[in-house]
Amino acid sequence: SRPLVDNEEQSGHGEQRASPSRLPFGKKQLPPIPKTVAPITKPMSTGPPVQSTNGTHASYGPFYLEYSLLAEFTLVIKQKLPGIYVQPSYKSALMWFGVIFIRHGLYQDGVFKFTVYIPDNYPDGDCPKLVFDIPVFHPLVDPVTGELDVRRAFAKWRRNHNHIWQVLMYARTVFYKINTTDPLNPEAAVLYEKDVQLFKSKVVDSVKLCNSHLFDQPKIDDPYAISFSPWNPAVHEEAKERMFAFKRRPEDHHKGTQVSGLSWVKPGSTQPFSKDDNPPQS
C-alpha cells in the first residue's frame, strides 16, 4: 500500500499549527517557545546591510527575519505547488524540510525528501540552498552532497522579486525538463546527451533507491522533520478520511468569543444601511 506521510506536512495545515499556543492574557507570563515559529538568532556580528534594511534596533532583527520567512511560507501555501510539501523545522525557521512527489516523466514515482537552507541574512543574502536527502541521479544534483544547483536560476537573489516558492518550483521543474549545461553531475549530463536509455535506467535505479529509504529515520533530528511510515490503517485511515472530508472553517480553530462582524451595506454600494432586506439576521 501507498506510504503516507506521517507528519502533517500539508503546507496548509502546517501553518495552522504554527499559531503558538500561548496564554490569552499572559503578558507577564512567558509563553512557551512557539513551535514552528522557532527562535532564530542572528549573530550580532552580522554586517551592517542587514541592520540598515531591517531597522535600527538589533533586538528586533530576529523578529523581522522570522516574519519575512513566515511571509515566504505563506506565499508557498498560496502557490499550492503541485506535489511539493514543505515545513519549517522546529529549531530554525531558516531550515525547511520538504518532499517532492514526481508524478510523471523520467522521474515518475520519485519521492524525494529535501531540506531548504535559507541564509541568515535573508532576504539580502544568497539564494537559499536546496539539498536532497539522497543525491538523486540528475545532472543538476551534486552526486555527493545532494545539493541542487539553484544558483543557476537565481544568479542574484533579489528581495521582493525572488521568493522561496520559486526555488521549490524550480526544484520540481528540473525533474520534468532536464538541463545538462554546467552540470554538477557530469556523468548524468553526459549520459543524458549520449545514452538516454542508460540514463533512464540509472534514473529508475536512483528513484528506487530513494524510495527504498523512504521509511528511514529523518536525516536531521527535528520534531518537524518529515518522516514516512508504512501504511497502517489504524493510524492513517482516519487521518485520510479527515483529509478528504476536511473543510477548513475559520471559526472552528478559534476558541471562545463568537465575535462576528456586522454589515448592512449592500454589495456594490458604498452607503451604510443600503441593504434592502432590513434588518438582517446574521
Binding site: 512567558l30 528586533y60 511571509a71 540552498k129 454589515s263 449592500k266 451604510p272
Partner: protein
C-alpha cells in the same frame, strides 16, 4: 377563602394521598361533594335556577360585586365554610386525576366540564365580597390547579372561561401581592402556552366570547413591562415566551402588532426610564471614561433602564419580524430621536458627557444585530439640527477634559463592533476614492510587506531615551529570554556522518548552526501575539462585509457620496404603517432631510482644525463678506410636536436651558457651535435650492461656496497670505525629498519629516478651504457646463472664478473621469482622510500633554483600527512606503513628530531616564494588577485587547513619579505603542495572506 384552604391544605402537606385509590370511588366522592355544594349555591341563587346555565359575563358586573355589596343577602358563615371544605376536597380530586384512555378526559374532569363547576364557583365568589384577598386566593387556586393537574385542563372552556374572568377582574387591582400572584399565574400560563400551541386558539376564542378580541394574558402583562424587581422580571420572561410564540404564529404576531400597545409601551417606556436617569454622574476618578458594570449597578434607575433595554434586545431577537420592526421603529422614533438626540446636545459639558457615556453603555449592552442597527443608524444617519450625530460625536473627541475622554471611549466601542457601516462612515469612505495617495501608488495598497519594512521603520522611531539597545530597562531585562541556538545543539543526536558533513562543510552557511546569543525585547513577543489575536478575530468578523476595501473593490471612481438618508430606514415606515392610526407616531420626516450635505462633514472637520489653527483662520478668511446667516429652517409641525412630547416625557429635563450655568466652557462650546452653524447656513441656500430640482446637486454649490469663502485669487495675491505660496512650494519640494528619503535610512529622514510635518500642520487645515495650489497636475475645468449654468443665478458674482476654483481643487488627472460620473464631491476632489482620522491624529500629536488614560484610549483605538484587515485602512495606517498626497497626514508622520518632541525633551532634561524607568515600573505594576483582576474575574471578555488595561479599578498611586508628568508616561506609552503597531504590521504581513477558507 375556599382557595386558601385548598392552597394551605396542600402546602401543609395534608393532602390526601390518592395514589391507589379507586378512580370510581374518587368520582363518587367528588359528585357527592358537588351535590352538597350545589344545594348551598342554589339556595342563594337569586334566580333560583336549578339549571347549570349561567349568565354571560356581560351580566356579571365585576366592579360592583367587588365593591363589597352583598346583593343577595348574607350567606351564613357555616354554609360558606361548608362550600370551602367541599371545594377544597374536590379540587384535590381533580388535580390528582389521571387522564383517561388515549388522552380522554378523566371522569372527574368530564364532570367538571359538564356541570360547569368552575364557572359556578367563580360566580359564587362574586356573589360574596370579592376583595383583593379573595382574588389572591383564587389566583393561587388556579395557579395550583394549572401547575399541578395531571391532565391538561385549559383545553376546556368551562375551565378556561372562569379563569379568564378572574384574570380580567384582576386587571385593575393595585395590591402588590395580587399583582405578584397575577404575574406568577400569567407566567405559568405562558409556559403552558409555549409548550402547547393548541391552547392558543382557545385563548383567543375565549376572549372573543367576552366581546373583546384581547389576547388577555398578553394585555395583562403589558403594564408590568418596565416594573422593577422580580415581578417585572417575571412579566418580561412571560412576555418573551409569547414573543417567541409570535415568531411561529402569524396570528399572535398580527394581534400584538396591530391590536396592542406592546411596542409603543415598550419603546416609550425607555424614554420614561431614561428621563429618570441622573443627568450628571459623579465621576469617581479622572481616569474614568465609561460606565462599567460596577458603576451602573450602583444606580438603580440605570439598572432599571438596562433591564428594559435588555428586554427590547430579547424581544428583537425572538419576536416575529412584524413585531420586531414595529418595536425598532418606535425605539428609533420614540426614544432615540426625540429623547436621546436632544440629550446629546444639552448645554453643559457634564450633561453631554453623561449622555455620551450612556450611549456608549447602551451600545455595549445591545447584542441583537437588528437593535444595534437601530442605534447605529441613529448615530450614523440621524441629523439633529441638520448635523449628523456622528459628526457631532467626532468633533467632541477634541474637547478637552472628560467629554473628550468619554467620546474616545464611545468610539472605541463603535470601532470594536466590526461593523462595516460604521467603518465606512468613519474612515473607509474617505479612503475609497484613493485620493489620499498618489495615483501611481494605488497598487501599493494591496502590496504585502514581506520583509517587515514598515515594522522596522515604525520601531526605528523609538526615542533614543527608550531604546532597548542602549539601556534596557531593568524591568524589561528581567523579562528577557535568551534566544539561544547553541544551547540547543540541534545536531547532537545526528546519526549519519553524511549529515554532519553536510552542515559543517559550508562556511557561509546553514544558519541552524548559529551559536550566538542575543537579548530580545520579549514584550514584543506579547505584542505579536496580541496582534495576531486581534487581527484574526477582526478578519473573521469582517468576512460578512460587502467589499474588500482594497482599492479595487469598491472601485475608487465609483464612490457615491451623499444620499444615504432614507434608504436604510424604509422598513421602519412600513412597519409603522401596519399600526392602527391611533397608535402610530408620525412617520419619520421625509421632507426636512433632503439635503445630502457632504459639506457637513467637511465643516465638522473645520471645526476640528480650528481647534489648532483658529487664529490663522480668522485672520485670513474674509469673514465680514459672508452673507448673514440664514434663520434656522422651520421644522415641520409634526416634528415639533414629537419633540414637545419627548420633552414632556423626560419631565422637563431640558428646562435647564434657562438656568444656564456660569461655565466658561459652555459658552465657548456654544459659541463654537454657533460659528459652525453660521458656516453651515451659509452653505445651505445653494444646496437647498438645488436639491429640490437636481439629482446631483452637491458638487457645484460646494465649490462655489468654497470659492466664496476664499477665492483662489486670495490665496495667491492677498498680502496676509503671502506666506502661503512659498510655503506651498517648499512643501512640495519637501514632499519630493521625503519620498526619496523613504528608501534611505529612517533615522535621517526624521529631520526632514519633522520639517515637513511642521509645514503641513500650518497648511493642512487650511487646505480644506483654500484648496492649496500645490499640485501642478491636471488643471481642467471639470464641471459640466450645463450644471454651472443652472447654478449661475445663485452665484453670479462668483461664477467668474469657478474654473479657477476647480483648477486648484483637482489633485490629479483622473479627476476628469471621476467627474463624469456626476457623483463627485469634495470628498473626491481634495485629499482628505476624514474628520475621525484627522481628530485622532491631532490628539495623538499632542500625546505628550495628554493624560495617561487619554493616551491609552487613543492608542487603543488606533491599534484597533490598524488591526482591520482591509488593505485601504491597513496601508493608510501602517504602510510606511506608501506615498501620500501632500495634504494628507499619515500616522507615521504624526508618530515622527511625537518622536522629535520626545527627543528634544530628552535633550533638555537630564533626569528623564530615571523618570522613565519609574513610569515603566508603575505601568507594569498596574498591568500586572489588571491581569490578576482579569484572571480572578475571568469570563468578562472585553471586545478587544486595548480595553483590558483600561479597566476602571484604580491602580496604586505611583510613588516615584507624579501622574502629572504626562510627558514621561506619554514617552513610555509612545514606545510601547510603536511596538504594538509594528507587531500589527508584522502580523498583517502574514495573516492577511493566509487564505481563510479553501
Amino acid at each position: 377563602m375556599m382557595a386558601s384552604m385548598v392552597a394551605n391544605g396542600n402546602r401543609d402537606g395534608q393532602s390526601l394521598v390518592l395514589k391507589g385509590v379507586d378512580p370510581e370511588t374518587c368520582m363518587i366522592v367528588f359528585k357527592n361533594h358537588w351535590a352538597q355544594v350545589v344545594k348551598i349555591l342554589e339556595k342563594h341563587d337569586p334566580l333560583r335556577s336549578s339549571s347549570s346555565t349561567l349568565p354571560s359575563m356581560g351580566v356579571i358586573n365585576l366592579s360592583s360585586s367587588s365593591s363589597g355589596a352583598q346583593r343577595f343577602g348574607n350567606i351564613p358563615g357555616d354554609e360558606a365554610n361548608a362550600v370551602q371544605n367541599y371545594v377544597e376536597h374536590m379540587l384535590f380530586l381533580l388535580m390528582e386525576e389521571e387522564s383517561g384512555q388515549a388522552g380522554a378526559m378523566g371522569p372527574i374532569l368530564e364532570f367538571v366540564v359538564m356541570e360547569n363547576v368552575m364557572e359556578r364557583l367563580f360566580v359564587w365568589s362574586l356573589r360574596r365580597e370579592f376583595t383583593d384577598d379573595m382574588k389572591l386566593e383564587q389566583l393561587k387556586m388556579y395557579e395550583m390547579l394549572v401547575g399541578q393537574a395531571q391532565q391538561p385542563l385549559l383545553h376546556h372552556k368551562p375551565i378556561l372561561r372562569p379563569l379568564m374572568m378572574l384574570l380580567s377582574s384582576c386587571s385593575s387591582t393595585a395590591m402588590p401581592e395580587v399583582e405578584a400572584e397575577l404575574v406568577l399565574l400569567l407566567h405559568q400560563l405562558c409556559c403552558i402556552l409555549a409548550k402547547d400551541l393548541s391552547i392558543l386558539e382557545l385563548f383567543f376564542h375565549t376572549s372573543e366570547d367576552q366581546g373583546s378580541t384581547n389576547f388577555l394574558i398578553f394585555s395583562l402583562l403589558i403594564p408590568f413591562i418596565h416594573r422593577e424587581g422580580s415581578v417585572g422580571q417575571q412579566a418580561r420572561d412571560a412576555l418573551l415566551l409569547i414573543m417567541s410564540l409570535s415568531a411561529e404564529n402569524q396570528r399572535v404576531a398580527k394581534h400584538i402588532a396591530e391590536n396592542t400597545y406592546f411596542c409603543p409601551v415598550l419603546a416609550t417606556g425607555l424614554s420614561g426610564l431614561y428621563s429618570s436617569l441622573p443627568t450628571k454622574l459623579d465621576i469617581p476618578s479622572e481616569e474614568w471614561h465609561c460606565l462599567h458594570r460596577e458603576d451602573w449597578l450602583t444606580v438603580p434607575s440605570l439598572v432599571q433602564f438596562l433591564n428594559s433595554l435588555e428586554f427590547c434586545n430579547a424581544v428583537t431577537q425572538v419576536a416575529h419580524p412584524d413585531i420586531r420592526d414595529q418595536l425598532l421603529s418606535y425605539i428609533y422614533n420614540g426614544f432615540l430621536v426625540p429623547v436621546l438626540a436632544p440629550a446629546l446636545h444639552k448645554l453643559t459639558l457634564e450633561e453631554v458627557m453623561t449622555t455620551t457615556a450612556y450611549l456608549d453603555l447602551f451600545l455595549r449592552s445591545v447584542s441583537e444585530p437588528a437593535l444595534l442597527q437601530t442605534f447605529l443608524s441613529f448615530i450614523l444617519l440621524h441629523r439633529h439640527e441638520s448635523v449628523h450625530i456622528l459628526d457631532t460625536l467626532i468633533s467632541r473627541i477634541n474637547t478637552p477634559f472628560q467629554l473628550g475622554t468619554v467620546s474616545l471611549a464611545l468610539f472605541r466601542t463603535l470601532i470594536g463592533l466590526y461593523c462595516e457601516d460604521v467603518m465606512l462612515q468613519l474612515v473607509l469612505r474617505y479612503l475609497i476614492p484613493c485620493n489620499h495617495i498618489m495615483l501611481s501608488q494605488r497598487r501599493v495598497v494591496r502590496e504585502r510587506d514581506c520583509y517587515s519594512i514598515s515594522a522596522a521603520r515604525i520601531l526605528a522611531l523609538t526615542p533614543s531615551c527608550c531604546s532597548p539597545d542602549r539601556s534596557p530597562p531593568p524591568l524589561r531585562q528581567l523579562d528577557s529570554i535568551l534566544f539561544s541556538k547553541g544551547a540547543d545543539t540541534p545536531h547532537k543526536l545526528s546519526s549519519t556522518a553524511e549529515e554532519t558533513n553536510l552542515l559543517s562543510d559550508d562556511g557561509s552557511g546553514n544558519s541552524c548552526t548559529i551559536g550566538s546569543e542575543i537579548y530580545l525585547d520579549v514584550s514584543y513577543l506579547h505584542y505579536l501575539y496580541d496582534a495576531r489575536r486581534s487581527i484574526s478575530s477582526c478578519t473573521r468578523a469582517c468576512q460578512v462585509w460587502s467589499a474588500l476595501y482594497d482599492g479595487e473593490d469598491p472601485p475608487p471612481d465609483r464612490y457615491e457620496p451623499g444620499v444615504l438618508e432614507e434608504s436604510g430606514l424604509k422598513f421602519r415606515q412600513t412597519a409603522l404603517r401596519k399600526v392602527p392610526p391611533s397608535l402610530a407616531l408620525p412617520p419619520r420626516p421625509s421632507v426636512p432631510r433632503p439635503a445630502p450635505l457632504p459639506t457637513v462633514g467637511q465643516l465638522e472637520l473645520e471645526w476640528d482644525d480650528s481647534y489648532d489653527v483658529c487664529s490663522v483662520q480668522v485672520d485670513t478668511t474674509p469673514v465680514e463678506n459672508k452673507p448673514a446667516p440664514f434663520p434656522p429652517a422651520e421644522l415641520p409641525k409634526h416634528i415639533q410636536d414629537m419633540r414637545r412630547t419627548a420633552t414632556m416625557l423626560v419631565k422637563g429635563s431640558y428646562i435647564e436651558e434657562n438656568e444656564f450655568q456660569d461655565d466658561v466652557m459652555v459658552y465657548n462650546l456654544v459659541a463654537k457651535k454657533d460659528t459652525t452653524d453660521a458656516d453651515r447656513m451659509e452653505l445651505n441656500p445653494g444646496l437647498l435650492q438645488s436639491n429640490e430640482n437636481h439629482p446631483s446637486p452637491a458638487e457645484a454649490p460646494v465649490q462655489h461656496a468654497l470659492s466664496l469663502k476664499l477665492p483662489p485669487s486670495v490665496v495667491a495675491d492677498d498680502g496676509s497670505n503671502g506666506l502661503d505660496s512659498p510655503k506651498t512650494k517648499k512643501q512640495v519640494d519637501c514632499n519630493a525629498i521625503v519620498q526619496n528619503a523613504a528608501a534611505a535610512s529612517a533615522e535621517r529622514s526624521d529631520d526632514l519629516l519633522a520639517q515637513y510635518e511642521e509645514l503641513l500642520r500650518t497648511l493642512d487645515s487650511e487646505a480644506g478651504k483654500k484648496q492649496v495650489k500645490g499640485d501642478g497636475e491636471a488643471k481642467k475645468p471639470v464641471t459640466p457646463r450645463q450644471e454651472e449654468d443652472e447654478e449661475d443665478m445663485d452665484f453670479t458674482c462668483f461664477s467668474a472664478e469657478t474654473p479657477e476654483a476647480e483648477k486648484v481643487s483637482a489633485p490629479f488627472g483622473s479627476v476628469h473621469k471621476l467627474r463624469k460620473s456626476g457623483s463627485a464631491s469634495r470628498i473626491q476632489s481634495v485629499p482628505f482622510t476624514g474628520p475621525f482620522v484627522s481628530v485622532l491624529l491631532s490628539r495623538l500629536e499632542n500625546m505628550l500633554s495628554n493624560s495617561l488614560h487619554v493616551n491609552l484610549l487613543l492608542t487603543g483605538i488606533l491599534a484597533q483600527l490598524a488591526a482591520y484587515p482591509q488593505p485601504l485602512l491597513r496601508s493608510f495606517l501602517l504602510n510606511t512606503n506608501l506615498v501620500f498626497q501632500p495634504t494628507v497626514r499619515s500616522l507615521y508622520q504624526v508618530l515622527a513628530t511625537v518622536k522629535n518632541q520626545i527627543d528634544e525633551q530628552a535633550a533638555r532634561r537630564k533626569e528623564l531616564p530615571e523618570l522613565i524607568t519609574a513610569a515603566q515600573h508603575w505601568l507594569l505594576a498596574r498591568e500586572t494588577l489588571f491581569m490578576e483582576n482579569e484572571q480572578s474575574s475571568s469570563g468578562s471578555s472585553s471586545p478587544f485587547d486595548g480595553a483590558r488595561i483600561l479597566k476602571n479599578s484604580p491602580p496604586p498611586k505611583p510613588k516615584a513619579i507624579s501622574l502629572d508628568r504626562t510627558e514621561v508616561f506619554a514617552t513610555v506609552l509612545f514606545t510601547e505603542f510603536l511596538k504594538e503597531l509594528a507587531a500589527i504590521a508584522q502580523e498583517h504581513s502574514i495573516l492577511s495572506y493566509i487564505p481563510m477558507e479553501e
